[in-house]
Structures are given as structure tokens and as C-alpha cells.
């Protein structure tokens, strides 16, 4: 499963986000992380097929049974943020 890495100066947390390429709130999330200069990886689940899709679904489900997007996974699941929760993203990652 291919992840795209977006470079940033803040690397104190490992940030992986599962997103949809068509979703406006997912786009807001990517833009906010970029603005905060947080390094992150993202996977646009709607663009996947076959094994990659199954693998992505399994991983998202592990952290978020409802499989809603964006699902933001911080430090391998130590902290999860569901949806474009601006305040929580800033508090957790913007410091």
C-alpha cells in the first residue's frame, strides 16, 4: 500500500492520515497539517483497488470501526483524531 509523504519541519509525532481524494474536509486536513508544517503520510483510500484497498480498509477499521474520513492516526495509534477537528489537530500537532 503506497503512502505519499508530505515533508514538514515538525516531526515529533508520526502522522498518518487516511483520506478520500474527493473529500473537501480531507483536503482541509491536509492543508492544515501543511500550514502547521507537520510532516505526514497520507493514503487516498478511494484511489486504491484490490489488495491495497482491502489492506487500507482493515487498517482504518482497526482505529475507526465506522471508517469515516479523514482518520488521523498519530504515533501508530496512540492518539486518533476523527474528522477535520481543527482544534484537536492544532493542540496535538501544532506545538
Amino acid at each position: 500500500m503506497k503512502c505519499e509523504t508530505v515533508p514538514g519541519k515538525r516531526k515529533n509525532h508520526q502522522v498518518k492520515i487516511f483520506t478520500l481524494s474527493t473529500c473537501g474536509w480531507c483536503k482541509k486536513t491536509k492543508e492544515l497539517l501543511k500550514a502547521l508544517d507537520v510532516q505526514y503520510e497520507y493514503i487516498d483510500v478511494d484511489t486504491l483497488t484490490g489488495e491495497d484497498l482491502v489492506e487500507a480498509h482493515e487498517e482504518v477499521k482497526r482505529y475507526n470501526p465506522y471508517r469515516t474520513y479523514p482518520t488521523i492516526i498519530i504515533d501508530n495509534g496512540n492518539h486518533i483524531i476523527l474528522g477535520f477537528n481543527e482544534k484537536e489537530i492544532k493542540e496535538k500537532l501544532g506545538k
Binding site: C23, G24, W25, D46, L53, V54
Partner: protein, 178 residues
């Protein structure tokens, strides 16, 4: 007109007809319409840009925009799940836009995604046209427009009658005699 223009015009009309407004955040609106255009190209129908689709129409029917959950979400939260349709006061103040909980039942989504992953359920194998068994209608209220007789099933009356434009207060709870 481009495809996005066509979609935007259709959604605008749908909002007006139903007494709603479109997303006041212009960038988000543009992104949502673009997402709908991508999904229309990809699947042949405009499924919600903010939800994962299965690609099988019968399983995605409830999330084709405007989705089945829109009216209840606009009633409760002032906006639908993706934020394309909003109520008047949210339209006037875009700071009221925020993520809202997913109303689509998890079992409906799980059944759809099982199909997308090639793990189709046993009950409706090979039919492709049957409605997934999990999608049973809950008991909902029915409202009647006392001006034109239009009926709709939802928790609260619509802001305006989509047929004759009578306001919500002209609706009455409609009860079927046994």
C-alpha cells in the same frame, strides 16, 4: 457548461426547492462539487464525496447526493454530512460548519465495503439488483402539506414544501387510519 457547472446548478436548484442553502465556504463548496464530478465519472453516479463508495450502485444508493441522510442531518445539525446542503443560519455564518457524526448505519457501510473488497454477502450474491437486506426503513413520521397535499417521510416537516413552497408551519403530521 462543464460537468461541475451542471452539478452545481442541479444542486443549487435542489437546495432552493427544498428550502436549503449551499455550503457558505466557497472553497469547500468548490471541492465538494469537484468531488461529486469525480465520483460521477468514476462510478456513473454522484455518490457523496466525503464517504467511501463501493462502486456498486445498489449498495451506494443511500449515499448518492443528495443522500438519504441529508434531511435528518440538516434538521439536527444545520448541515448535511459533507456540508453541501445547509440551513439558513449556517449559510449566514460559515463558522458554524463543522464535522458532524455519520448517520449512515455501520452495517450498511460494512455490507457495501464488503462488496467493494470482493467479499460479497451470501444473502444477495449474484443478483446485483436486490436491495441489501440490512437497509430496512425505520419507522419515520409522515408529514402532509396542507396546501398541496405533498407527503414526505422525515422527523420534522421540511423548511418549505418542494412542490408549492408553503412554509413548514403549513405541514401537519399525517397519520394513517388503521
Amino acid at each position: 457548461m462543464t460537468q461541475t457547472d451542471v452539478i452545481l446548478q442541479a444542486m443549487k436548484k435542489n437546495a432552493v426547492d427544498n428550502g436549503y442553502f449551499l455550503c457558505p465556504d466557497t472553497q469547500l463548496l468548490q471541492d465538494l462539487i469537484k468531488g461529486l464530478a469525480v465520483n460521477t465519472q468514476r462510478y456513473g453516479y454522484g455518490s457523496c464525496p466525503c464517504r467511501i463508495a463501493s462502486g456498486v450502485k445498489t449498495y451506494d444508493a443511500d449515499i448518492i447526493c443528495p443522500c438519504e441522510y441529508r434531511d435528518a442531518d440538516v434538521d439536527e445539525f444545520g448541515m448535511c454530512y459533507c456540508g453541501l446542503f445547509v440551513r439558513k443560519e449556517v449559510h449566514a455564518d460559515s463558522s458554524k460548519m463543522r464535522p458532524i457524526p455519520e448517520r449512515r448505519p455501520q452495517e450498511v457501510q460494512d455490507a457495501a465495503l464488503a462488496v467493494a473488497e470482493g467479499r460479497q454477502g451470501t444473502s444477495d450474491k449474484h443478483t446485483g439488483t436486490s436491495t441489501p437486506a440490512v437497509r430496512e426503513e425505520k419507522k419515520v413520521k409522515v408529514w402532509r402539506c396542507t396546501v398541496c397535499g405533498y407527503l414526505c417521510a422525515r422527523e420534522t416537516p421540511p423548511p418549505v414544501c418542494p412542490i408549492c413552497k408553503a412554509k413548514a408551519e403549513r405541514f401537519k403530521h399525517f397519520l394513517l387510519e388503521k
